[in-house]
Symmetry: C2
Subunit: 249 residues, 2 copies
Amino acid sequence: MLLIGEIAKLAGVTPRTVRHYHRIGLLAEPERNSSGYRSYGLSALSRLLQIRKLTALGMGLSEVTDALAETDTGAVDVKEILVELDAELADGEADIQRRRAVIARLLEDGDDPTLSPELAAAVRGLELPPREIGMLRAAEVALPEFVDPYLTGAGQDSPWQIWDQKLAALADAEANDPRVGEIAGELYAMLPELLPADVPAELTADQTATVAATARFGQMMLSDMSPGQRRVFELLVEYGRREPEKWGR
Amino acid sequence: MLLIGEIAKLAGVTPRTVRHYHRIGLLAEPERNSSGYRSYGLSALSRLLQIRKLTALGMGLSEVTDALAETDTGAVDVKEILVELDAELADGEADIQRRRAVIARLLEDGDDPTLSPELAAAVRGLELPPREIGMLRAAEVALPEFVDPYLTGAGQDSPWQIWDQKLAALADAEANDPRVGEIAGELYAMLPELLPADVPAELTADQTATVAATARFGQMMLSDMSPGQRRVFELLVEYGRREPEKWGR
DNA sequence: CTTGACCTTGACGTAAGGGCAGGGGTTCTA
DNA sequence: TAGAACCCCTGCCCTTACGTCAAGGTCAAG
């Protein structure tokens, strides 16, 4: 006749755990003594130990319920359960190993863990400000057609790099900043060499395809730009409208 | 300007996840458009991607919060975090490997996964009924001084085995079963060879030490016994009382 | 008689979202 | 012009396997 604390200690669990098993029906409620305390016999302890052995292997409590129900009825599908469980564990193990491999590589290279390997390699040693890196990280998935050339062909002196730097100069500029017009002009002149070769078809078919692509790019970055930078994009679109023959087909 | 579903898809998560990150303060709430929809920019996407990269390594969201706060303030303790995380993952990996080793052994031996290796080896090939095995499983942790000899020295013909079999014959017996007296007498005669050599001191010091030890054993098993078996234990105690000179010091 | 160590039930918290209800928005299509 | 199909909003309950109080009853010892 064991109290809940005693049976729990024998099984290496807390009384709370035993009560939990009662509540979910995994372990039958035992008799109570005259004080209302639960009073356990050896068969309850045996059941509790069975449960613990299986949970220690990594089974969930509902799986344990099933497994014990099967063994109680004599069905010997326990092997099947174990094989299945082992497969799950193998998955988990492979998962952990993948993560650890990534971590090992990060520790070796000293890269920012929040960058893709490609982007990390591209910006390594470039000392870009965090804000620029953040834009690249986002643009890599949101605007891959703009960033991929930057990653593959580009290094220190790519047009994109220069574009970035010119625009970054206006990071804190107001819309009426005197440099806005000048920089807009420079960027406008750079557009032809900057725009990707493989712009989607529906955009190239458009009359002002490149301007539209640029606008899309700008559109997505607008929320993270200074007023001066937004003004630059407005100007770019305006310039494009003035030369439809240059951009249209 | 991305809707929540768009940014979620770009980051490979669900909108629910993004809202979750808002609620716990991991991702700042963005502006709303005229319809009350959240409207995200590239910097939000960047932040979301950072979060995902770190959770993919196995960090919890609170750890991610800390890690990103540190990188935002320029502190480069990310390496430290990664090392710590790797240690945790290594623990988890070792854990899984232990479990898989146990499972592999179980599958090879075909043992009951809910038995200790020692007990499984002891009962292997013995074809004990499940009820007996259950009692052994429980007794192994509750009454080790009674079971250990059974495990180490005992095989098919140990006194314990015989005791078990005699008692098991009354598994469904009522208290007035005619076999009760006979079996009680046999078991009483077996007591000297059955009782463990290393009974705890406070019990050997007692005048009726062995009877008390037996009573303790019986006490714990009572709740799982048939009325006939309980009667046997009552008789054993009675017999012991009749021969105090035999059991006393 | 009090203290301390038990026991009881009940209710809330955890991590990281999943799922549903009830209601509104936008856009395409018949 | 009205559905249909999808998107969005908030709020609430659900999940695992218990941990952690909280408020109160029980029991043996000093």
